[in-house]
Symmetry: C2
Subunit: 525 residues, 2 copies
């Protein structure tokens, strides 16, 4: 049941008087529930509870944390159709997507449960002492990862489940031993509250400390600013716009104690189609990318916003086919009116620039909030000279760049801002003729894709979802996959510590049987 209240630890609370509603973009109408923004006092309560909870929760065994994470997954599934219906009414996304994203979310939670139950993720490392070493004794040193402290997670508008309330950031932080306060996304506050209620049920069923999780509503920036500024908050996770992520990064950097902000932000995800591929199968590739550009109304951070090729017959054929295929796809409803308006504005700004040719734009009599996909074409020179064309247009829009030469193409890649992904479409072994292009692309991205589309972010240990700024604020970490847990931990050493007082992960007898680096050798004994 949706109450519109905040979850301050295990308590529902609505002390404030600022309220807001979510919007059903399909109907372009407000949904029935009204949400109460958290007050400064409620936010402080949540922070104090999180800090208290940290002192016990950080020491919970992997097994206990795993039980908690699995209980969250179970409770999310138990929400059944209520969750799916609320999700759809707050996003305009279809049921299939809702169910799929729920599946991804519970998979993530269970993956982290498996990870912490097994236990080797702490990267335990032991160097035993040599008391009689000369000139000085070698101490016994034992290291493992420990949690940073209370973490704030900002829900993402485009993934109300997988990157929001109980999404990847929350799952990784809770798995690491960090309490989490979610700043719920105002555009899917109902979905957020349902998930929060599932988490709180799991907290109660598995006996977790109250305050290990809170969920606060807000329609304006004050709540987020208060959270990120508070001395008891030790890290921040965010998925969203460059403007939003940078604002949080700047607040965190100005604190007396600066804290890490892991923000996954904008990306245009460049795609290079090599000449032979264009010539031999340009039309098939065009068809594939028409699908990738419009998937989910283009509302993915890995949406291909830039397609580059060297001008010629092959590229012209590709462009023609891409335009025609794009026009043939049914537009989809966008997440909410603000995103729809931003998309319209961004697209119109891009296509109204000088020397931009529009080859497809469905700006006809579409339903309101439906994103009309479009593709524009520019020359390499035009792109280089006009930085407006470099901005991400969040939605089903892509720019094809007709480069005069491979050199020009490389120059464009080399000077791009940091990206989540880069894609190279190659025929047979054609790619091996372009080592310098590949090297330049690698330097600008977090993930390099061969003959595929950037949309689709597989949840697995080898995934990197992140990249040079502004793809993310710290390219040294990924936001997806089990290694994303490393964002929320720090290494910690015990020196000459009594064996019986060490955490199990570091005891001589290795009671957990985890993989450890002992005197330089990996083993499980």
């Amino acid at each position: 049941m949706i109450t519109g209240k905040n979850h301050i630890g295990n308590q529902l609370s609505s002390q404030g008087n600022i309220t807001f509603t979510t919007i059903n973009p399909e109907l372009n109408a407000e949904n029935e529930y009204s949400f109460v923004q958290a007050t400064e006092e409620e936010v402080n309560q949540a922070i104090n509870l999180a800090e208290e909870a940290f002192h016990s929760y950080k020491n919970y065994s992997g097994k206990r944390k795993a039980d908690f994470l699995r209980a969250i997954a179970d409770e999310i599934e138990a929400l059944g159709d209520d969750l799916i219906n609320t999700y759809c009414s707050e996003t305009g996304l279809p049921e299939g997507r809702a169910a799929g994203e729920r599946g991804r979310t519970v998979f993530q939670l269970r993956s982290f449960a498996d990870l912490v139950e097994e236990g080797s993720w702490v990267e335990a490392c032991i160097d035993t002492g040599i008391p009689d070493r000369t000139p000085v004794a070698k101490p016994d040193l034992r290291k493992m990862n420990i949690p940073l402290g209370p973490v704030v997670v900002f829900g993402a508008s485009n993934f109300p489940l997988a990157y929001s309330t109980a999404g990847g950031d929350t799952a990784a932080a809770l798995a690491s031993g960090c309490p989490v306060i979610v700043k719920s996304h105002p555009m899917h506050a109902g979905t957020g509250e349902l998930i929060a209620s599932a988490i709180i049920k799991a907290v109660e069923k598995t006996g977790m400390p109250k305050g290990v999780f809170s969920n606060v509503n807000s329609k304006d920036y004050a709540v987020g600013q208060q959270l990120v500024s508070h001395p008891k908050i030790k890290a921040v996770g965010f998925t969203g716009s460059i403007k939003g992520g940078r604002a949080l990064l700047d607040i965190a950097a100005k604190r007396e104690e600066p804290i890490p902000v892991f923000a996954e932000m904008g990306s245009v995800n460049p795609v290079v189609v090599l000449p032979k591929a264009l010539k031999n199968r340009g039309k098939t590739i065009a068809q594939t990318f028409a699908g990738s550009i419009t998937l989910g109304a283009g509302q993915f951070c890995t949406n291909p916003g830039l397609i580059l090729g060297v001008a010629g017959e092959g590229l012209s054929g590709f462009i023609e086919e891409l335009g025609s295929k794009i026009k043939g796809i049914n537009p989809s409803c966008m997440l909410h009116p603000n995103i729809y308006e931003a998309y319209k504005k961004g697209k119109s700004e891009a296509i109204s620039q000088n020397k931009v040719t529009v080859i497809a734009d469905l700006d006809a009599d579409l339903k309101i909030n439906y994103g009309s996909q479009a593709v524009a074409v520019v020359s390499g020179k035009t792109f280089i000279e006009n930085s407006t064309l470099h901005h991400e247009v969040f939605g089903p829009f892509s720019i094809v760049i007709q480069c005069e030469t491979t050199n020009e193409l490389e120059q464009i890649i080399e000077n791009l801002e940091g990206q989540l992904t880069g894609t190279i479409i190659s025929d047979d072994n054609e790619i091996s003729e372009y080592p310098s292009l590949v090297a330049k692309m690698q330097n600008r991205v977090g993930r390099l894709i061969f003959n595929g589309v950037p949309t689709g972010v597989e949840v697995c240990p080898s995934m990197v979802h992140g990249g040079p700024y502004p793809a993310s604020t710290d390219s040294r970490f990924t936001a997806v996959g089990i290694n994303s847990i490393k964002r929320w931990v720090r290494p910690f050493s015990f020196q000459n510590w009594p064996n019986e007082l060490l955490p199990d992960e570091l005891k001589d007898e290795n009671p957990l049987g985890i993989t450890r680096l002992v005197n330089g050798q990996l083993n499980q004994f």
Copy 2:
């Protein structure tokens, strides 16, 4: 031979007209050489060379980088007495310390050589594809660590070798595949130039790209600011004061593309002596800490600046003995007049506070630049109320806090700023009676020491040299040990990439035989 010039890549260069000298603190006189500060243009040259070098150097095999690192170590050893004499004349430190630090420096270089030659440090991770998975194919994903780009390293005043020109930051960055520009410490610019010349010899002997290393002189902040602000610089390493580290962090945070700054800064390294230990062997402990406080004139970032105990007979006896032992130790020369002056000022500010009792202060007729060790005693209440007493006094000085109760002691620990280390001195199993104290200490430090002294930072994989701010700017990394290489790398994924074009680390056949996580299993095949 010392020329006073900058190493811009492999070239000696001295375009500027700002010059400075180093000082022999034992003689309180200028050394003979004059150093030329790098000009803006020279700094830009070094940066451009580093960026060019990066494009080839990042792809060099572990074997080639290992040869380079070992050649640096060999060339440093080949400097022989020239290095030791210059070191001593620029620091006032004794020959034994110079030789010891040189040993540590070449050990670090060779450890990183071994690490990258073996190769598993890249944390290779492979998830093979499942093309026929439904509803969508599972892609083949392969991840490894790759270098960030050109790194700037600021030499530390208190470790002219091990934390400076070819110290831990430089060794780790070069090992990772990042070119390095060192901003030489002005107080040991001669030592820095000798080491730089050794590195350049190694560059030439092993055929490394020019620009993989540069060394620039400066006496003011402009050079450092220019380096950290430059868009081609991708990360920064620093060891020094909180003021200096924070200034660099702030510059980096304000860049259009913010970059990571790993600064290892101040610490008072709290030591708690538990009651039974005080009672049973307070005098022995006092003797040990008199040595630790005065070691190297207290010029270690892990120097014990704060000793806490609960008031009583035991603590009084400890204080008396500590005072007497401290007085009996011969003072040492400090690194340079600025540090000497800062120490005198910091110490006199601390001991002139209200309700501070000085139990030892050798401020008699000492030689100039000799740090006169001192110990002061305050009550817990006085310490809590007076934040001036919380500041690090860099040098042979420590404050003993007489707490009224264990609760008060815990309260002080809980509210300390972040620290590199915390130490607990316990008799037998006494420590097991203080779980809450241990937990609070753990929350504030990077390394917890049992019955030992914080001075002495063992170089091994289990070492954490870092901690919550302001001990370091990013507690998620260590500055010492092979894992310090992680500061300079980012994870990178290849998706469906052709096997023959993958780096060796990720090829099916694992030609390097490194340990990899393949479909969730660690193996070497």
